[in-house]
Amino acid sequence: MIILVVGASALAIGLLVILNILIGGWTPARLRNEDEAAAALADGVFGFRAAAPVALAADGRGALAREAGGERLGLVVCLGDRAAVRALRPGDVRSIERDGVRLTLRLNDYTLPAAALRFSDAETAQHWAAEAEAYAGAADAAKGGAVHA
């Protein structure tokens, strides 16, 4: 009986997701400009004010910005039609990889272990790789779990 209920539920889930795909109505999130990236940071991390320049990924699916008057590095990663936002502190970045225009930050973050941003030019990627260096290193023990809402 339980197997039947679980099987039927799994089938119903599959059908609902297929219906969701067929119906559409969502669009992948994209940051159209630096102001939108700054607004995403301000919405995602209360009190975070992005300092110029804001580095926007060429496809608009991510951004980086230093905090104005603060020590944090703001990161926006678009996920589906929404975005995950982080205010990184020293120790939050596990490693940094740069390949031409592509910058990958590997994070000490269980639900956002990596963020890959493709910039319009290699110079921007290099600049932000250097900026991110300040946030790399041993995991800060005082970081951690999601907080409420």
Partner: protein, 312 residues
């Protein structure tokens, strides 16, 4: 003892039909938004919750059978008892829910329900998998049984409470008629509960009746000038159900391992979500205080805070 049906099992077909209806209505009007991976994650969490209820639910059932012998009264199965049990269960739900937001051990379980940045009927089914292991049922589930309500009746009205709460997880229903909004938990009230705007944080814990929030000072109305932003303060970067299920537990373990004193262990484990020894993290209390100060500064002529400013 009467044969009581399982209201949740009976309601599942209705849940599915309403989700389909909301998807179609949302597509036609733009008043509800679904994203397939988010929808899939929420529904898989719901299925996992059902399975874990079968696997782990016996722990809670055994506890209730055990404590039934200590019942003060023998209330029995009269209709008035069902009605009274339903209201009292909702009162207990309010407090259980409030503690689920203010004690990290229980928040680690409940955060799953809040972890979607969408707010639609599939979000209602995004439920935790490990609830019985938090032992919340001992602290909050025991009261009605000890008073004398039969455990099966308590379980029945608790299930009715959850079925009621399904339909309020939607943006498709605007504010309702005043008297309904005054007494009942509605989509509008519950949108506030799921919002991360500092004004809305830790508000509207009600299950069925919003009167508990009004009585205990946790009520906040939805405002047209402040649309709800859904999710959690630190939104997830994944749709992986295992990570959704475990992420806050992983956070607790990491923090407790890094603790330098018993006080820190207890703070990380049982303190409010976001607690840290030096107050450097964003707990709800800290966020609300910063928001209050920002509002005061803005009222005194402060500037907008969401535009990039020139680097020094």
């Amino acid at each position: 003892m009467p044969e009581l049906p399982d209201p949740i099992l009976i309601a599942i077909p209705g849940f599915i039909m309403l989700i389909v209806a909301e998807m179609i209505y949302g597509r036609m009007t733009g008043r509800a938004r679904f994203e397939p991976r988010d929808t899939a994650a929420s529904l898989v969490m719901g299925l996992g919750n059902t399975i874990s209820g079968v696997v782990l639910g016996g722990v809670a059932a055994a506890w209730f059978v055990f404590i039934e012998q200590f019942a003060v009264f023998d209330i029995g199965w009269a209709l008035w008892a069902f009605a009274l049990c339903f209201v009292l269960d909702d009162f207990v739900y309010y407090w259980a829910h409030r503690f689920a937001h203010t004690v990290r051990w229980w928040w680690a379980d409940h955060v799953i329900h809040h972890s979607s940045q969408h707010y639609n009927l599939s979000t209602a089914l995004r439920q935790p998998w490990l609830s019985p292991l938090t032992l919340k049922f001992i602290f909050f589930g025991s009261w009605l049984v000890v008073i004398g309500f039969p455990p099966a009746m308590v379980a029945f009205v608790g299930a009715l409470n959850l079925v009621y709460q399904f339909w309020i997880h939607t943006e498709a229903v605007p504010k309702m008629w005043g008297p309904i909004e005054a007494v009942m938990n509605t989509p509008s009230h519950h949108r506030v509960h799921h919002a991360t705007n500092p004004r809305y944080l830790d508000r509207n814990y009600a299950g069925v009746f919003i009167i508990w929030d009004r009585m205990f000072g946790t009520f906040e109305p939805e405002r047209e000038d402040e649309p709800c932003r859904y999710g959690i303060v630190r939104n997830l970067g994944t749709y992986n159900p295992i990570k959704i299920c475990l992420h806050e537990w992983v956070g607790i373990i990491k923090d407790v391992r890094s603790a330098r004193s018993l006080r820190e262990v207890i703070g990380y484990w049982l303190g409010p979500p976001g607690w840290s020894p030096d107050g450097s993290r964003d707990s709800s209390k800290i966020l609300k205080e910063r928001w209050r100060r920002q509002r005061e500064a803005e009222a005194g002529g402060g500037d907008e805070a969401d535009r990039p400013v020139a680097a020094e």
